[in-house]
Subunit: 589 residues, 2 copies
Amino acid sequence: MPRLARYLPILDWGRAYSGTALTNDLVAAGIVTIMLIPQSLAYAMLAGLPPEVGLYASILPIVAYALFGTSRALAVGPVAVISLMTLTAASSVAPPGSAEFIAAALVLALLSGLILLLMGVLKLGFLANLLSHPVVSGFITASGIIIATSQLKAIFGISASGEAMPELVETLLANLPDTNLPTLVIGVLSTAFLFWVRKGLKPVLIRAGLQPRPADLVAKAGPIAAVAAATLAVVVFDLERQGVRVVGSIPQNLPPLTVPLFDPRLWQQLAIPALLLSIIGFVESVSVAQTLAAKKRQRIDPDQELIGLGAANVAASFSGGYPVTGGFARSVVNFDAGAETPAAGAFTAVGIAIAALFLTPLLYALPLATLAATIIVAVLSLVDLKTPRTIWRYSRADFAAMAATIAVTLLLGVEPGVIAGVGLSLALYLWRSSRPHAAIVGRVPETGHFRNVKRHKVLTDPCVLTIRIDESLTYLNARWLEEFVLETVADYPEAKHLVLMASAVNSIDASALESLEAINHRLADGGIKLHLSEVKGPVMDRLQRSSFLEELSGEVFLSQDEAFSSLIKRSENEVPPQRDDLWLARGLI
Amino acid sequence: MPRLARYLPILDWGRAYSGTALTNDLVAAGIVTIMLIPQSLAYAMLAGLPPEVGLYASILPIVAYALFGTSRALAVGPVAVISLMTLTAASSVAPPGSAEFIAAALVLALLSGLILLLMGVLKLGFLANLLSHPVVSGFITASGIIIATSQLKAIFGISASGEAMPELVETLLANLPDTNLPTLVIGVLSTAFLFWVRKGLKPVLIRAGLQPRPADLVAKAGPIAAVAAATLAVVVFDLERQGVRVVGSIPQNLPPLTVPLFDPRLWQQLAIPALLLSIIGFVESVSVAQTLAAKKRQRIDPDQELIGLGAANVAASFSGGYPVTGGFARSVVNFDAGAETPAAGAFTAVGIAIAALFLTPLLYALPLATLAATIIVAVLSLVDLKTPRTIWRYSRADFAAMAATIAVTLLLGVEPGVIAGVGLSLALYLWRSSRPHAAIVGRVPETGHFRNVKRHKVLTDPCVLTIRIDESLTYLNARWLEEFVLETVADYPEAKHLVLMASAVNSIDASALESLEAINHRLADGGIKLHLSEVKGPVMDRLQRSSFLEELSGEVFLSQDEAFSSLIKRSENEVPPQRDDLWLARGLI
């Protein structure tokens, strides 16, 4: 791939752009636009921002991603979890809805964009690895629960606040007596209708004679019907006067040019939230993009994705938006609707821009309860109760990380939740790395294979002890190595030769080398020779750069079989160990 | 070992205590006491504390360690590096020498004690693994340089301050014109004499007819001669009036009972420094204790050492002391002088207590320049210039961690230095873990061995591709695994079978399992079957708890040899791959 095209993927697909692709992209853009309008408003309000901010965040960021991103189907814009994280982060600076709050959201988008760009340029995408699958899954589930709960306030027409469940539930219950009945009716009906649209509409349409694919797409656009019906109900029955809260007037204009505040103190306050939000957004977006790319046997480049998402967020910060990323639902709709190139995204942007210019008056009477219903229905599909069960069966450690993420997110909020998940995963990983698996092995009779004496019937020799180390030797397990080897030797007082079988040792760092040297000297003091077997090529190359091999009391054998046979033969010819040697070996612990 | 004796090792050695042991312990205690008196004063003053605090820190903490520690020779008390860290930490709260500063040192000792006890009870000793050998070595070297430089102020009789080299050197140079000549003479003579004592006295004593061991011990006590001579010179020539600064009057009493302040804000400020100081102290102390224990084929228990050191620090905080740990020099003297049990420590405590009660008036005229000389001579032996060269040759990554630790410690101070070393080691480790080694392997002709196609002449088959993964599969490399496997397959368009040879895979976590499932499905879409070979017992046990093995498109083979042979046979009987399959395989990237 030419260098420039690597950083500007549009040069790649733009060259081969055809009439068919144009038609397909236009159709997909139309469908996504219809779906995005209510969703953008809803997510902006979830983030504590005026509704139009959601529309603005769906225009230029999409264009920026279309220029720099590598996924052909990813639809970038406001998403639920990032909106919740924006609310949390910006709330720490100013009350939601205030001018300072909106300014903080712009700064968050800018910081997030810069962080993503930096990670992309420095190829730091691997940092996203720190978020394990269980942690991400747990975090998304818990965020979905928090978001759905927070939207109940709009369904009941009451107020509630809080970044985590305890406060949310408490304020909801406290304000329950203020419930506005017409709002509740609209909210419940909208929610029920949307749930039905999700599951029940498609079969009805198919029975009515539609093909499955168009039926599916019509069903996806179903929320528009709820929006229209609810808006009409408010106008016809003059429900606004009865206390039903509506979207209200939205300015009719294209995204404004905004310049994020350069306030070092504010940047510092928002740096960590922006980092967390960027990484969560990146991980989510890449997994959506990878899933869709695999279906068409296309490829995405994670480092370039960082640049695409970074550009999208910078664009959001300069056009009155807030942090964005690739959304799952909208990307799937885009893909299913037949989007072939990122141009579909650009056309969507035009669609939303037209909506921002001309359609906003139609949204005046849209009840907030209906928007809340669209959010609730969307996020409840994020709540995944199957994965925790699968993970519990497979790995308790992974389950612990997931459970901690869910619990901390629910109880303390999204940022502590992510940090707890990453921290616990890392701590468990380091703990496991610090006590690796190792086994005393013996020869499987009649073969050259060596297996764990605890799991197999194998031949051993009292004079020749073999320990297979099942991990790379690093500073994290160097101390363990010393303790394990010297303790094991103490249990085999007749041993004259110790073989470390290194078939699973992929590297030895400087700390572990120092430990091997210490082991070599201490064993020699006890009259035991240290040997190595099955040392891998790269490990051996490196050992030759140290003085360890010269100091080694024993030898390095190519195969364990050779080591075992020749050492047994040798020890038979040697004099039996002295009493004193025995004592030494035992005393070595 | 009975449960109680595990936590109170004194029950173990106390029962077998004999007359010979008593004599040996008393002799060792006498020698260590003589050595400790000037050292304790010097280190307390290095830490910015009144000299008597050093004596107090050498009384009760030693007794506490004797009760709970597992090393028989470790001598606990003030040490150079921990004194420097105390100075740095307490200076951030109050100016050195002030009452608040002394109070902060007590709180540091208490926090450090509590942290160590907690780590001991929770068996968190493995956290000390985060400090790799290169990082510790670099940190000690850099600290030694800082300490030696800071002591030049006392040698020249001027003032200087700063936690890191730039400020230290700058203030030293600025104040150089104020040099006090008599002080400089005493300082230079003391330093020269002490260096000579260290290297040259022992041969002289041996030539005078002493046995090597007593000669060594007398040489170790040499500093006392310097102390006595310098004190005498000050008195005889009335140098105090000429501006030579002396220790001055030290209160004549046993350690006072002190109660560390309980001030949440202060505790919060000192928590991180206390943590760093505790871990550095623990790592240093354990490595001294392990070295000495190995020489007598004794054993120490690192988790119990945490409790011993924790108790010593709590004792320091309640008896007017400051943070302590096991010191290298004093422990070696204790060991060489023949200490047999921790009772030697208790006798040392009695010796120091007697000194604090009766000998302090003799120390009045001891010049600070001589104390500085004892520190300089002691810490310069910590500066290790050989290890960096060895490490450079062996591993650039380890060298980078060490160089960063040295540079940051020298330029910014001890706390940033430790954090930079630990952070960089961890980042390099995680980075390496995220892109492990893997190789395409083939059969070594006429054998059942399989080796890297790039390093060996081996047999391969275009239809049967084998990838050996040289690392455990974890969330850190799960994403790499997907990318690597799918890219490799794309390079071998004729492949119908992919074997993952798992001989070096010691575990597969939930994230990696999910990636394996994704690989399985994507390969199946491309008409390629996924097989595993040489899966280890524990890994297989765990895989059976998931649905992966049921969904696997291929098989699990016990040996790679079997996999290779039977898959080649099978693919010869199959129809050749369709054009379309080929395209799929190629398109899979």
